[in-house]
Each structure stands twice: as C-alpha cells, then as structure tokens.
C-alpha cells in the first residue's frame, strides 16, 4: 500500500534544475522497527547494509543515459555516502541472493539475513512523461521484516546525484535518529603552485567531491570562505587591488561585492544564523576588533574595543552569543560574548593556545584549533569551556567547520616542510565528532579552509 502523506518541493541551491517532489511511502509496520545506529559512541561497529542497484522500470533512455545506468549510479552514491560516515558497512553486491527488480514489493528477508545484512535499501527508477525521473526507495529492517521508511523523488535526470544524497540522508536519518548531511556542499580554498607564490582559488563542490568548480580565477589571494546558513551566498577575504577586504559572493549570479567601505583591512567574516548579518574583524592602527554588519541596512556596529587582537567570530545557533579568538590575556584564547558585545568571558583554560572557535549548529559545543607542543589539533569543548576533547593528532590541523547536523567536522591539514621546501601539503579532512572515522576529502589539487554549507533542501 502506498499512501501519500505529504508533498515537498525540493529546491535548494539548484531550484531550476531540481523541481520535484517527495512523498513518504508509508508502511503500517514502520512503527515496529527497532533497528538503530548509535552515533554518539565512537568506533561503533558499522551496521551491515545492502543497497542493490536502483532497478530500472524500463529500458528507456534519458538525455544522460539509460535508466539502468542512472540506477547503478544512484546506488553507488548512496553506498559511498553511507560508508564514508563510518557508521555503515556496505555488503558486496556479488553476495546478493535476491535480485531486486522494479516490480519487487516486499523483499525475501531470509535472503538478506543469510548474507549478514541488517538493513536493506531497495529502489527503482522510472521515466515520467515529462522527461523527469521518478525514484522510489524503501528502507527495510531485515530482522523485523518491516519497512522503516520509504520516499519518492521526482527530478530532472541530471539531478540523479542529489536524489542519491537525499536517499542517503533519509536512510542515515531513520537509522541514527540524527539528520543526514549528504545533500550539502563544501566551499574551500584550492591551492596550487610554489609555496612562496601560491595560487589560491575559491572552489565549491558537493560534500563528496563531485561537481567541483572554481569561483575565482586565482589572480588575487582569497582566504577563509564561509557559507551563508540561509542563502546562496559566501563571505570571504580577498586581496583585490592589494586591499584585503571582506567580500560577499552570490553563488547563483557569480557576482561579488565588497562588504562595507572601511579604510583598513577587514577579515575573518562569518554569517549570523539567519544570514542577515556578518561579523568580521577590522584592523585599525595595528589593532583588530570585531564588528557586526547588517547586510540589509549595511549598518555597522562595533562589538569589541580591546587593544588585543580580536578575531574569528562565530555565532551561537540562536544568534544570541558570539564566540571569538583574542590574545587580550597574553596569548590566543577563546572567549564568548553576547551579540551586542557585552558580557565577555574567557572559556579556554587548558594548556597551550586556542584558536578558530566555531559554534556547533546544535548549540552545545564549540570546535577549535589547539596550538601546543609544536602541533595544531582540532578539538571540541562545551560552550562554557568544560569537557575539552581533542579529535585529531597530526602536525597542523586547523580551521574546523561543522556538518549541518553537528556530528561531523571538516578541517585542513598541513604536513611539515623540510628545508628544501618539500612537504607542507595542504589537504581537507573530515572526522566524526567522536574523533573516529578520520578521512581525507578528495580535492583536485591541494585544499584548505573548508566551509560546510547548510542542507540544500531545507
């Protein structure tokens, strides 16, 4: 039985390309499902899951290939997403006993139990009369023999990747109880050329590295891009005309504009949770303080006035507070203040220096870079400074950014140089909040300063 419970227009960053809808495929037994993955424990045994190829309903061909090819691709992206989370282990399709066809309704659960699968994702793809593809999937609890969730997506064929990420998000969400994060993008700094004269370009890609493209041509130095939590915008630091200033970049139009008319360098920008403000540092006579700009009125408010360096502001998800980096106490430490600049409190008191505080989208934690013992390490602490945990251990790991669900972090890593200038490679990595499942994020060249987007469909 398929019952339409709701209809959702899938828009997000590619509204013109993916205008589809999503419906829940309801199974009365769903409530009985007990299968669950605990994401709060590190080093959890990955859940064995079977994801057969998305079955083509016909031999039809679209502008980007046959339904069969699209189906194989969708399944492989779902498998890659789930596997990369570290929480799932995909069962090799060579082991499958039952062949899932487009007409299959209930799987033969015994066949899936026999190969050690605990969860099963079945799906099929059909061609609509208007040229779009319709993809339906169901997630099954193999032991309870029940459907856990089922959804239908309609999209232009070229958007098959987003459909795959949405399926992976739904599976992850149903099995972990947390929101997924696969339908998201990364903006980062692509680095090429010799270290003394590096070319740095703003680049954007899907969180799995697909659909990579450059947003700037590399003529000018660009650094520290940050995604808007609500719009198709990036704020970043650029050295256009040798004037380092904070810029706003519109991803849809490709237009960029300088933020404000400041006589001196502005840097270290970050959006407020509603996307309407940008907090940033302004340097004046050798002193950096934090300012807030309202993007609608362009009105600027000064938040800090200390002669120490105040930089790297990051908002709490409720927008009420800002965490930032300051050396006002003699060395780089992490502070928290109200968004009007009042009630400034230092929260980092461990050994060493602390930098780049970034508030978790869940609100409970602040991620940071810890400098000590000749290393940079990425860690997290509660927003009152307690419960510090270091997640990485390398030469220089810097600049964490949170996945939209607050369970995964990305950061950039530099290896040590030798005297001949060898080494010093910059790369982007991800790590689970528990400190496990550390993985390199593939980029075409070296990369740094990753910033995670919000979910594209919200």
């Amino acid at each position: 039985m398929i019952k339409v419970l709701g209809k959702q227009v899938v828009t997000g960053f590619l509204p013109a390309l993916l205008i589809g809808f999503l419906v829940l495929l309801f199974d009365p037994q769903e409530a009985a499902a007990v299968l669950n993955v605990d994401v709060t424990r590190g080093n959890v045994e990955p859940l064995p899951i079977a994801v057969p190829d998305t079955a083509p309903a016909s031999e039809a061909t679209t502008m980007i290939g046959s339904l069969a090819d699209i189906g194989i691709n969708i399944a492989s992206v779902v498998i890659a997403d789930l596997t990369r989370s570290g929480l799932f282990r995909s069962i090799d399709k060579e082991a499958f006993i039952e062949k899932i066809g487009a007409g299959s309704m209930r799987p033969r659960f015994g066949d899936w139990r026999a190969i050690g699968s605990q969860a099963l994702v079945t799906s099929h793809v059909e061609l609509e009369s208007d040229g779009r593809i319709r993809v339906e999937f169901r997630l099954w609890d193999v032991f309870a023999e029940s459907q856990m969730t089922g959804l239908r997506y309609v999209a232009p064929p070229q958007n098959w990747r987003r459909v795959a990420h949405l399926i992976a998000d739904a599976v992850y969400g149903r099995l972990t109880g947390e929101k997924g994060y696969f339908d998201s993008r990364i903006v980062y700094i692509a680095e090429t050329g010799p270290k003394t004269k590096r070319t740095k370009r703003l680049a954007i890609m899907d969180q799995d590295g697909a659909n990579h493209r450059y947003l700037t041509n590399g003529e000018d130095l660009v650094l520290t891009p940050r995604f808007s939590p609500t719009r198709q915008e990036i704020t970043y630091l650029a050295y256009y005309n040798d004037q380092p200033r904070v810029y706003l970049y519109n991803i849809d139009t490709g237009k960029h504009e300088v933020l404000g008319d400041f006589p001196n360098m502005t840097f270290a920008p970050r959006f407020s949770p509603d996307g309407n403000m940008v907090a940033m540092s302004l340097a004046e006579n050798g002193n950096s303080d934090i300012y807030l700009m309202d993007l609608r009125t362009r009105r600027v408010t000064r938040l800090t006035t200390h002669p120490g360096i105040d930089t790297s502001p990051s908002f709490s998800p409720d927008g009420a507070r800002i965490t930032f980096n300051s050396d006002r106490g003699g060395s780089q430490q992490i502070y928290v203040m109200d968004t009007d600049g009042s009630d400034i409190k230092r929260i980092s008191f461990g050994k060493g220096r602390y930098a780049t505080p970034v508030w978790s989208p869940r609100g409970d934690l602040i991620a940071f870079t810890k400098i000590g013992n000749g290393q940079f390490r990425v860690g997290v602490m509660r927003y009152d400074g307690t419960g510090e945990r270091l997640l990485t251990d390398s030469y220089q790991d810097e600049g964490p950014t949170w996945a939209p669900n607050g369970r995964v972090l990305m950061f950039f890593r530099q290896t040590p140089y030798n005297e001949r200038g060898e080494g010093g490679e910059m790369s982007v990595w991800s790590v689970d909040l528990t400190g496990y499942n550390e993985r390199p994020v593939t980029t075409p060249f070296e990369g740094s300063d990753p910033a995670w987007s919000p979910l594209m469909s919200r």
């Binding site: 270290k195 003394t196 004269k197 590096r198 740095k200 130095l221 650094l223 520290t224 630091l237 050295y239 040798d242 380092p244 360098m265 840097f267 270290a268 540092s281 340097a283 006579n285 050798g286 002193n287 950096s288 360096i309 930089t311 790297s312 980096n325 050396d327 060395s331 780089q332 930098a355 780049t356 870079t369 400098i371 000749g374 940079f376 030469y395 220089q396 810097e398 600049g399 530099q414 040590p416 140089y417 030798n418 005297e419 001949r420 200038g421 060898e422 080494g423 010093g424 740094s448 300063d449």
Partner: protein
C-alpha cells in the same frame, strides 16, 4: 691601502704609462719611466680576470634598498614588538626614505606557520603597523607608507625549524 711590492711596482708603471701617453713630451715623466723600467718583473704575469662592473642599483629602487640598508626586519614568535636590531634597520630605512623623497612604499607584515590563518592576518597587520609607526616617529610621512598583512600566506623559508620560522616572521618594505 696595503699592497705587496710587485703590485706597487706594476701600478707605478701603469700610472706612469698613462701619464706618459697624455703628456708624451714631458721630460720629467720620461725620467720616471727610465727609473722604474728596471723594476719590471721577469716572472710571467698570471692570467688576469676581467669582470665588468655595473653601475649598481639605481637609487630609490627595491634593489638599492636591499643593497644599502636592507628591506626587512624580524620579530620574535607571536610578537610584534620591535627588537633593537629591528629598530636599527628601521632607522636606516627611514634615512633611506629621506634620501629618496619621491619613493612611496608598502610595508608587508608576515608570520611563521605556527599561528592560525585568521589570527596571523591580524598579527601580520600589527607587525607592519609597528614598523610604520616607528618610522613615522622618525619623521617619515605616513602618506608615503601603507601597510598590508599576508599572515602566513607568503613564506620565504621552509622547514619546521627555528631557522625557517625566524625568517618568515618579518616586516618587509617594498618600493612601489
């Protein structure tokens, strides 16, 4: 200038010959030649290395700044205070700017890799400003000197070592 005997004699001849060519009719000089002629060594002369001398960097250029007073000062780790050595170089840079009044410069602030990116941009700005302010105090017009911070993005030395880091913690005067 200290010279050995052979060199002195050789020079005498050369000087005398040139003088002779210029005033061939002078008796006095004829005598000089006669006197020194006997002193010409009979040992074979070594091959002479000849290197053309360029006029040197034109005043007011970056190369001239580097060759005459130095274009950079260095800082301690995570510090922007000027050391005695740095102040010394900045005084010479100020003097150089006084001698090259039509020159405008940008002072670049740089850091080593042991600070985070955003913090180092602030620290580099602080270093460049400290250097600029010191030269303003020495009487150089602020209109001739602007600053820019590159943080740790433009290293000149590599290697996870004190030697490399200390070269990267710098403020560099660049002639525009």
């Amino acid at each position: 200038m200290k010279m050995n005997g052979l060199g002195k004699r050789f020079l005498t001849i050369t000087a005398a010959s040139i003088f002779l060519a210029a005033c061939a009719t002078s008796e006095t000089e004829m005598e000089t030649v006669t006197e020194t002629e006997t002193m010409v060594p009979v040992v074979p002369a070594p091959d002479v290395m000849q290197t053309p001398l360029t006029p040197g960097p034109a005043p007011g250029t970056q190369a001239h700044l580097v060759a005459t007073v130095g274009d950079r000062v260095f800082f301690e780790y995570d510090k922007a205070e000027l050391t005695a050595t740095a102040r010394d170089i900045l005084r010479r840079q100020a003097e150089w700017l006084r001698n090259n009044l039509d020159v405008e410069v940008v002072i670049e602030g740089h850091c080593d890799e042991r600070g985070t990116r955003e913090y180092n941009i602030a620290l580099g700005d602080r270093r460049a400003t400290m250097a600029r302010n010191y030269m303003i105090a020495l009487g150089i017009s602020g209109d001739r000197m602007r600053t820019i911070s590159y943080g740790k993005e433009r290293p000149v030395a590599f290697g996870a070592s004190q030697a490399s880091w200390s070269k990267n913690r710098r403020a560099v005067m660049v002639v525009l």
